[in-house]
Amino acid sequence: MSFSELAHRIRAGDRQAEGDLTRRLTQGITQIAVKLTGNFALAQEICQETLIIILTRLRAHELDDPEKLPAFVAQTARNLIFAERRKQRRRKTETGHDSIEEVADVSATHERDAERESAAVAIRKVLSEMSSERDRILLVRFYLHDEDKEVICRDLGVSGPNFNLVLFRARARFLELLQDRGLLSKDLLCFSIL
């Protein structure tokens, strides 16, 4: 179903369409928020707030161009993140430290650390299970230092298919470990794209 159709049905009061739209957008909104905040827990909160705003808007008004809904959603998420940043900056300049917001923020920080820690545990295990130091270097250069595949292959003397195989296995194992820790939903099971 197209965004246009979903938007039209939500305007008409179709709750199932709201669920469909939510499922379709959740992962993307969360990733936009993670990218901008580096905070997994905060990203989930931003995602919820974004969805509430979007659904409220769609229930009340027709969009001028419903096919531009993704752009509208992305901008809404960004606006919420920038507002959150402004709020945090203001909080840092205040002298009082016992507000509910601050407590909530500390909690979110802990959540973020827990998610990052889980990722660290999983990636450490992935690296430790790789038999070749060259493969470990390959993985770190690609995923941490964001180096180009061609450069890494040339430096390490690795063929393109072998490069893909190393990353494919590493990603599959990483996902498996996170799933074991109950941290992944089924929609994360995407590791065919390298």
């Binding site: 379709r24 993704p70 990052r116 450490r124 770190v140 590791f191």
Partner: protein
């Protein structure tokens, strides 16, 4: 847009504002693309944590693995010491240790290592080894320092050697290539004192 390089460039922050807007719209339309970005961001976050803790270079070099094995060995020694202290009364005067505990210290790729200690109430353990394992390291709690002789029964055609450690454990290197699955026991006695033999039965099971 080619998905993989685009997702990589997005996570790396190497996109123009226009590219970001286009990519994010695509990501919102395609949960599979969002899932790919999710994996990349989590892997990156995990690696950043390791780098912040200055652990990454050691892990890449394989040093951290070896260190963890040593820690596991230390933990195993502690287990052995506790086990041994609990059963000294039980074993006194008994040459045959038919009650045996085993703790896998390290399941390395080619040389798995196990800790053997005698405790009450357990039967012969199963030493589970990878199909390609050539050697198994057995660490045995012995009564004191000095030389020990070891033997595998039935005989190990590939050979068996031992060396006392400074940690109160006797390290036995058992060549398992060619050994059939089945029941064995490790016979250990102080050099020149076969009457003080200790036996450590176990089941050898090689994974297919």
């Amino acid at each position: 847009m080619n998905d993989a390089p685009a997702a990589a460039r997005y996570v790396a922050g190497r996109m123009s504002e226009a590219e970001i807007a286009e990519f994010e719209s695509q990501m919102l339309s395609r949960p599979d693309l969002a899932a790919d970005v999710n994996v990349r961001q989590r892997m990156k976050a995990g690696l950043q944590v390791l780098e912040e803790r200055q652990e990454l270079s050691e892990i890449i070099a394989g040093v951290a693995n070896r260190r963890r094995r040593l820690l596991a060995l230390a933990a195993g020694i502690a287990v052995a010491a506790i086990s041994a202290s609990l059963v000294v009364w039980y074993q006194r005067g008994d040459r045959t240790s038919h009650l045996l505990a085993i703790d896998a210290i390290d399941q390395g790729e080619n040389t798995p290592s196990f800790l053997l200690a005698t405790i009450r109430g357990s039967g012969p353990p199963v030493i589970d080894i990878p199909a390609n394992a050539e050697y198994v390291e057995l660490r045995v709690m012995v009564d004191g320092p000095g030389g020990y002789d070891v033997r595998l029964v039935p005989d190990a055609p590939g050979g068996i050697t031992s060396a006392p450690g400074t940690d109160g454990l006797l390290t036995v290197a058992l060549h398992v290539a060619g050994l059939e699955n089945g029941a064995y026991y490790l016979s250990v006695w102080p050099a020149g004192k076969p009457e003080n033999e200790q036996r450590y039965p176990f089941e050898l099971a090689r994974r297919r």
